[in-house]
Symmetry: C2
Subunit: 198 residues, 2 copies
């Protein structure tokens, strides 16, 4: 398979980490979104939503949406246990991540890291919701090792992606000890994948 993405993007890294941990062979093709490389006709033919990551599985089979991709790549592995209720709780985190975490934390990071904004320029409402998302994680991780059950799953991969670079969006995790400890556990798990040490 060919993964079209950018290693600076948390959404793209989710796919790399999952592919590495599941030992899927792949070719990585860099897409520079700042140069409009996801806005070409060739890219739109693979993914009409013109977003990275997009995976080409061959035979005209393309898949977009980071969390849909990692769910597909991880099927049948320890990263996505077969039990339906466990999968439902993982899905709950995956959808929450795309609705209540990524639009705030990842967007602020994009503004500061890619657009060069100062922290002061970020929208107050977005900063507020990012803080609420981090607080929700801190509460959820109190007394827990990983987000769902007792084992590392794609729910942790999805949430780790932008939480571990939240400081690049101007967010201070120093007061969130449960999140910090969980980040370290996730990093240890991810280091098992080939060349994927975060």
């Amino acid at each position: 398979m060919i993964i079209h993405g950018d290693l600076g993007s948390g959404n793209c890294l989710k796919v790399k980490w999952t592919a590495d941990l599941c030992a899927h062979a792949y070719e990585w093709r860099h897409v520079d979104i700042m140069k409009g490389e996801a806005r070409t006709a060739a890219f739109a033919a693979m993914n009409p939503a013109m977003q990275t990551p997009t995976v080409d599985f061959g035979d005209g089979k393309y898949l977009a949406q980071s969390n849909a991709i990692i769910r597909y790549l991880a099927r049948g592995t320890r990263l996505l246990p077969d039990d339906p209720w466990t999968q439902a709780k993982i899905d709950e985190w995956l959808f929450w991540e795309q609705y209540s975490h990524e639009p705030y934390i990842a967007r602020c990071r994009f503004q500061m890291k890619y657009l060069g904004w100062s922290a002061d320029k970020r929208e107050a409402w977005r900063v507020d919701l990012a803080g609420k998302a981090l607080e929700r994680m801190e509460t959820a991780l109190a007394g827990r090792v990983f987000l769902v059950g007792d084992a590392f799953t794609i729910a942790d991969i999805a949430l780790y992606a932008y939480t571990h670079v939240a400081h690049e969006g101007g967010f201070d995790l120093s007061a969130r000890s449960h999140v910090q400890a969980w980040l370290a556990r996730c990093a240890a798990e991810l280091s098992r994948g080939k060349g994927s040490a975060p």
Copy 2:
């Protein structure tokens, strides 16, 4: 199971429609978010994200996030075929819906229907992205009966939820003939569920 939700919310209706079509028995408990009924300590104990819909399956098992819920309720039915690739393409639409459709179309509808805003008061960037989401659907539905494969699935349920009330958010679907025809097909499918005629 007990579904905590509001029949005026597309996200909550997804759960009702899926439960009806799959013939799951349930009790519906109305939650008035405008009165802060999802912001109580009792509600937060069920769902710390304090969002509807939230489903109580008994024995301390709670599930939030509309698309996670319908995926769980529909497992093993025609609404979520077993084939992994079909499921991946359904998931692609589910995640796209929560990231690139709901935040724009549903939010504009909320502003106009619940907050009483005029169409002019909606943010230009949000209206623009809502238009792009509807255009993406129009393109995807050209020459297709349903969003994935040839059959009605939870991908259609998820996208129908706010597309069929897009006019309440100030969006005109009259020029989007493929979307209109698909909406009619979805409505016919949904009418098979008990008491769920849209």
